[in-house]
Point group: C2
Chain length 200, copies 2
DNA sequence: CTCTGTAGTAAACGGTCGTTTACTTTTTTA
DNA sequence: TAAAAAAGTAAACGACCGTTTACTACAGAG
């Protein structure tokens, strides 16, 4: 057992994230691993099965990340209560973690790009793309800022998250993402400082 | 002459913007128009030729848009001079135009989505995606804010453009984009007001 | 040493791909 | 109105698609 199933998953994700699901052939994936496409069917039922396994893997990783960062879940009442005790420093730290996660973590970065490529083909992929990257985080921050008592939480959330979202695309087109990450850190710190001042 | 060549261009763009270039077949395009794929080759040399014609068309439309909105071009010295005389109202008006252009103009909106789908396959497409949608506008605003004397033009540009960039993705996943557009208008107005205040 | 299950190869399957060809219909024009 | 040009059809081309099949190599267990 050489972990072939895992290597297939990663090789497929790399190709899906560059070319899109339809444009990648089963032969392409097998070729990356130096095996024939027939061998691939010993580990997965087919091309779609690999794709679905990637989705499941991301779901699992996302749950772990939410647990590690103590993201509140459950009924809205309890979430509001938890939100109110969040400090600006905690928001800044969590935002920097997310900035690096989607930009630099290999699996998450590849998955983000794959989602972007699939979002217009399938309503389910559009839903996932919104949930992980667009209206999901935006709604989360809107609720958070509302619980903190900001006067216009929707605007504040867009002003906070918009630059982060933009910088992921800057990273995708840059030879060296570190400058974009550094700018993101500055923007997050500045926004957190404003947040602290606005609460007084 | 029933403008078949033009209808092919638009039908192909619609499909490319949803599924990506590779995932769209020549038969798919022909089927949308109720003709056979053989007829398509009377108007274009092949699938790639249609794609290249779409790129050329966007280039042409972009030049027209820049002309209509008096976007300064030429040597850096003259641009700086032109930048310094720009008012916050002009920036807000131009930004709202761009917000609607990439979100609601049919051709531009489809082209934006097509670029997003092709950006990772081909370095040239990555370049165009950055130029039209990411580092292009961001660099433009950075230069503009620098000429206006803002202390941190890079941060200001990211804070200004990030939310716009995010809202295009919100529109893509929303049933009704009008709420996102309205929020964009508010954000642009608020940023322009801050800009006016910061200049004093 | 044999048995058993796993991982792999090579070839074939029907189907679709982009493109070309030969031919017909429609439209323009002189 | 007849010739010519343009636009469209149907079929075929070789290549590649995802998947299946038949067969081989080889590990560890009894």
């Amino acid at each position: 057992m050489g972990g072939t199933k895992e290597r297939i998953l990663l090789a497929a994700l790399r190709l899906f994230a560059r070319d899109g699901y339809e444009a990648v052939s089963v032969s392409d994936i097998a070729e990356q691993l130096g095996i024939t496409k027939g061998a691939l069917y010993r580990h997965y039922a087919g091309k779609r099965d690999i794709f679905n396994s990637i989705l499941a893997r991301m779901e699992q990783r996302d749950a772990e990340l939410a647990r590690d960062n103590q993201v509140p879940e459950g009924p809205k009442e309890e979430m509001e209560k938890a939100y109110r005790s969040v400090s600006a420093e905690q928001i800044a730290a969590f935002s920097k973690t997310m900035l690096r996660y989607w930009a630099q973590d290999e699996f998450a970065s590849l998955f983000r790009r794959m989602l972007i490529l699939e979002q217009f083909r399938d309503p389910e992929m559009s839903r996932l793309c919104q949930q992980y990257l667009v209206s999901g985080p935006l709604g989360y921050l809107t609720d958070l800022f509302a619980a903190l008592g900001l006067p216009e939480p929707r605007k504040a959330a867009a002003e906070f998250y918009g630059p982060m979202f933009l910088l992921w695309s800057v990273c995708d087109g840059a030879d060296d993402p570190s400058r974009a990450i550094a700018l993101g850190d500055e923007l997050i710190d500045a926004a957190a400082a404003r947040l602290e001042k606005g609460k007084e």
